[in-house]
């Protein structure tokens, strides 16, 4: 009987680069920058790392395939390195692999590193237009905002809410992230934006305006994990541990089977319930913060319901009531989120874990939350109708 990974793996070091338009840095530079912060934090020798996973989502237009770019950048000597890719959930996928390696007893120290260098591609990091040769014969090539924008119309239809009210709540989501991002020195966007500007921005994909969409960034983030016992031996009396990591992936049900109404993301619901069970927590009572996949404002709003933090049909009102603001019931995107911290795709899941980790460690500076117990990351790849949702929960060992 599987018992899960709760408290079987400790996070002892994390690093995260400045996100943004890093014109002066290549992917190798970004990997080194994130890793040097993490290895210094961990307090171990780099030669002690026994296995590494590199998360990189858009290999064909940025870093190159395989995990060899990681081995080269960090000069990792003959240890197993593997590349993982699961669209925007790639970063959490890398963390999951490293965590499982330690939990299995295969290694004592493992590295997870996510990196994306999109600003060399010349066009904002949009993926190449192929879904595979057979799918290309029929499947539309909608943009990412185009796919997530469809949540809004379906949400309006399901709950009978006014589209203008929903747009206002979506605007509040972005307003809040800009407020938070302004306090984060590593964030891509550090400018507060007023609601009027958000609501009057040019339309990207109806009803998503410019400020309803996150951009993409250059950046890297990484984690070094080990066992709680080793963590204690390294002087961490009450280390941050992984309480849960769960994934759920589409099998075509949303796109091909006529049940889903398009107003929610089933994989987020499933992965989060599994994660709550694995961690043994009550999300509304126990979570101190969340870092969710706010690729678009409507995604964050719907995610609040899919995670069970808002009642069905109530996220619109909870958002407007400030429940997820920095001083709200369960702060969301205290670091600015994808919207403002940035979205180097393969690194984003690890960036979320980074924020939860430094909040648990009490090292978040001016945006530090008090009374931190558990933090949740929600890393969503794909589209609402064809997704990979990764939910992780971090907390203290005791």
């Amino acid at each position: 009987m599987a018992t899960g990974i709760k408290d079987r793996v400790a996070v002892i070091g994390m690093g995260c680069t400045q996100f943004g338009e890093r014109w002066d840095k290549g992917a190798d530079d970004l990997m080194v920058e994130a890793f040097e912060e993490a290895i210094a934090d961990a307090g171990i020798d780099r030669s002690q790392i026994e296995a590494a996973w590199m998360g990189n989502a858009l290999d064909d237009i940025s870093v190159g395939n395989s995990a060899l770019p990681l081995a080269h950048a960090l000069r990792l000597q003959t240890i197993p390195v593997s590349r993982v890719e699961n669209m925007c959930a790639t970063g959490t996928e890398a963390l999951r692999a490293a965590t499982y390696a330690v939990a299995s007893g295969a290694v004592d120290f493992a590295l997870a590193l996510g990196v994306e260098k999109l600003k060399d591609t010349g066009y904002g990091g949009l993926p190449l237009k192929t879904k595979g040769l057979a799918n290309d014969l029929w499947m539309p090539y909608g943009s990412a905002p185009g796919t997530f924008a469809q949540l809004a119309g379906a949400y309006t239809a399901r709950h009978g809410v006014d589209a203008a009210d929903l747009k206002r709540a979506m605007g509040h989501v972005s307003w809040k992230s800009h407020q938070n991002g302004a306090l984060n020195p590593k964030a891509h966007l550090r400018n507060p934006v007023d609601m009027e500007k958000i609501l009057s921005a040019p339309m990207i994909a109806d009803p998503l305006g410019l400020f309803d969409c996150c951009g993409v960034s250059d950046g890297a983030a990484c984690a070094i994990v080990t066992t709680p016992e080793i963590a204690k031996s390294l002087g961490r009396a009450n280390p941050v541990t992984v309480k849960a990591i769960q994934l759920s992936a589409s099998n075509g049900w949303e796109m091909q089977y006529g049940e889903w109404d398009g107003a929610s993301v089933r994989n987020t619901q499933v992965a989060s319930r599994r994660a709550y069970a694995e961690a043994g927590i009550d999300p509304r009572a126990d979570l101190s913060m969340t870092e969710v996949h706010d690729c678009f404002s409507i995604t964050e709003l719907v995610t609040m319901e899919d995670l069970g933090l808002s009642n069905e049909g109530r996220a619109l009102f909870d958002v407007l009531d400030g429940d997820y603001d920095a001083n709200g019931r369960i702060p969301c995107q205290i670091d600015g989120g994808l919207k403002c911290f940035g979205h180097p795709v393969g690194a984003s899941g690890l960036r979320m874990a980074y924020e939860v980790y430094i909040q648990l460690e009490g090292r978040a500076g001016s945006r530090q939350r008090q009374n931190m117990d558990f933090g949740l990351t929600h890393n969503l790849g794909g589209s609402p109708f064809n997704s990979v949702a990764a939910v992780s929960i971090l907390g203290r060992l005791n």
Binding site: G122, Y123, L126, L128, K129, T130, L133, A134, D136, L137, W138, M139, P140, Y141, G142, S143, P145, G146, T147, A149, Q150, L151, A152, G153, A154, T156, A157, M203, I204, A205, D206, L208, N251, G252, W253, M255, Q256, Y257, G258, W260, D261, G262, P384, F385
Partner: protein, 475 residues
């Protein structure tokens, strides 16, 4: 009653109609712009001669399959790859259906119809045109895009009663591989010689063949080489009936190989039993055919309805873009290649262009088919029965107007489409009317170009979802 009959006739016009007068204002500085009256049908970026012909054919093959399918066009996208065969697959007709493509002049469709009525077997002749023309030329405004299909058999609604043909290399215009857009010769020469020496004599000969006087003709569908030539042709031939091709040219443009047949479909729709209908084409000669109406022609009301619905645009630059006469810089978003592989087309092409999904053992329908059904609870691979989705009612589950994604005619509408009976498909949407699409909208499927590989000169086809009802042009 024995003989050969028209058993069906239908037409298809693209949604957009260019207001010629409004568009001509953009050319006022140059003195160009042609007649500047009426409208012309403008195909979407994702339509071509094949899709237009297939759309026109749908109403004629929904009940039964013909033995033979002929595709006629002077603007076929492929020189080597049969459009007729593609149409058979798009219409999900049996593979045993005979196929042939005809071309060579705008007379080719009527010539094929003449072959069909003089031959045997159940035959569909489908014509489609999306002819290129240079901006500023009279043809750019005069041409129109559209499709038509006519079915011939041993029973039907209009009996073939006579014909005549004339082959003559009267070069009024030509297009060639080296000069793909029309090169046009002296207009007065064409007016005089074509009417006097080609069209009128052929009509008179057809009447003689049928044993009728030209004045007995009640409806005419005669393709005029140039506008306003019908009066001369009628006078020279003795025909007094109105010409449906004239009105068609004014409203939709000159449809090339599809023009005479489309006018014929309009004439059939108007005809009563006992009426005599003249069909005559022009181009390197003339074919003239006469029919006696014996009843209502299936599908012909569709041709009339198409002429009455659509959306008028006055946007000359959009027209230039849609007709390929201006190359807009769409930026880096448009920098991608879509190479279709022959092996993949062989495995999936027929199910794609035919929009064939599968019904699993529990009755659920899905697209595309798969070894393992998408149905929750399925425990292993199952055989799937073919289900064509092109004609199944559907509505929108989710939708957006994507302004980031590249498309030659923004915005890029797409969404989840739910078909009655179970299938759900993520689809591109097309033919948006001014109010756009909303969740719950009823939809109709249209065959369209899916992707164009300009580097290799290839294109693939799939179906897109359009509003179930088109706006009336009278609104």
């Amino acid at each position: 009653m024995s003989g050969r009959f028209i058993s069906g006739a239908s037409g298809y016009l693209p949604l957009l109609r260019l207001d010629r007068a409004a568009a001509a204002k953009a050319l006022r500085f140059s003195g160009l712009g042609g007649r500047g009256a009426g409208t012309r049908a403008v195909a979407g970026w994702d339509e071509d001669a094949l899709t237009l012909a297939v759309e026109a054919s749908r109403a004629l093959v929904s009940e039964s399959a013909p033995a033979k399918f002929i595709f006629a066009s002077t603007s076929a996208p492929f020189f080597e790859r049969s459009q007729a065969t593609l149409a058979i697959e798009a219409l999900a007709l049996p593979v045993a259906t005979r196929s042939n493509d005809v071309a060579g002049s705008r007379r080719c469709a009527v010539a094929a119809l003449l072959d069909a009525v003089q031959g045997s077997g159940d035959t569909v002749i489908a014509a489609g045109e999306k002819r290129p023309a240079r901006a500023g030329s009279a043809q750019h405004f005069r041409f129109g895009d559209g499709g038509v299909a006519v079915r011939v058999g041993d029973v039907g609604a209009a009996r073939f009663i006579g014909s005549a043909s004339l082959s003559r290399d009267l070069v009024d215009t030509y297009a060639s591989r080296e000069h793909p857009t029309p090169y046009v010769y002296e207009e007065r020469f064409v007016r005089e010689v074509s009417a006097r020496d080609v069209i009128a004599p052929t009509i008179r000969a057809a009447c003689a063949d049928a044993g009728i006087d030209p004045s007995a003709i009640t409806h005419a569908a005669v393709h005029e080489p140039l506008p306003n030539l019908w009066r001369d042709i009628a006078k020279l031939s003795g025909v007094t009936a109105p010409n449906y091709a004239t009105d068609l040219e004014a409203k939709a443009g000159d449809l090339g190989a599809a023009h005479a047949l489309y006018a014929f479909a309009l004439a059939l729709d108007a005809a009563k039993a006992g009426d005599i209908i003249l069909l005559a084409s022009f181009g390197s000669g003339c074919d003239a055919l006469l029919f006696e109406a014996t009843g209502d022609t299936p599908g012909s009301s569709v041709a009339s309805a198409m002429l009455a619905t659509g959306i008028v645009t006055t946007d000359y630059v959009r027209f230039l873009s849609l007709t390929g006469e201006i190359a807009l810089d769409w930026g880096v978003r448009s920098e991608f290649e879509q190479k279709a592989q022959g092996t993949v087309l062989e495995r999936h092409g027929r199910n794609t262009i035919g929009f064939i999904g599968g019904r699993d053992s529990a009755g659920n329908v899905q697209f595309p088919k798969s070894r393992m059904p998408v149905r929750p609870g399925a425990t292993g691979p199952e055989p799937m029965a073919d289900i064509r989705l092109a004609d199944v009612a559907a509505n929108l589950v989710s939708v957006t107007a994507d302004r980031l994604n590249y498309t030659p005619d923004p915005p890029f509408w797409f969404g989840l489409v739910q078909f009655d009976g179970g299938a759900r498909v993520l689809m591109e949407l097309t033919d948006a009317d001014p109010k756009g699409f909303s969740v719950g909208d009823p939809l109709a499927m249209r065959l369209r170009i899916k992707g164009i590989d300009r580097k290799r000169g290839f294109r693939t086809y799939f179906w897109k979802a359009a509003p179930h009802v088109r706006p009336s042009l009278e609104n």
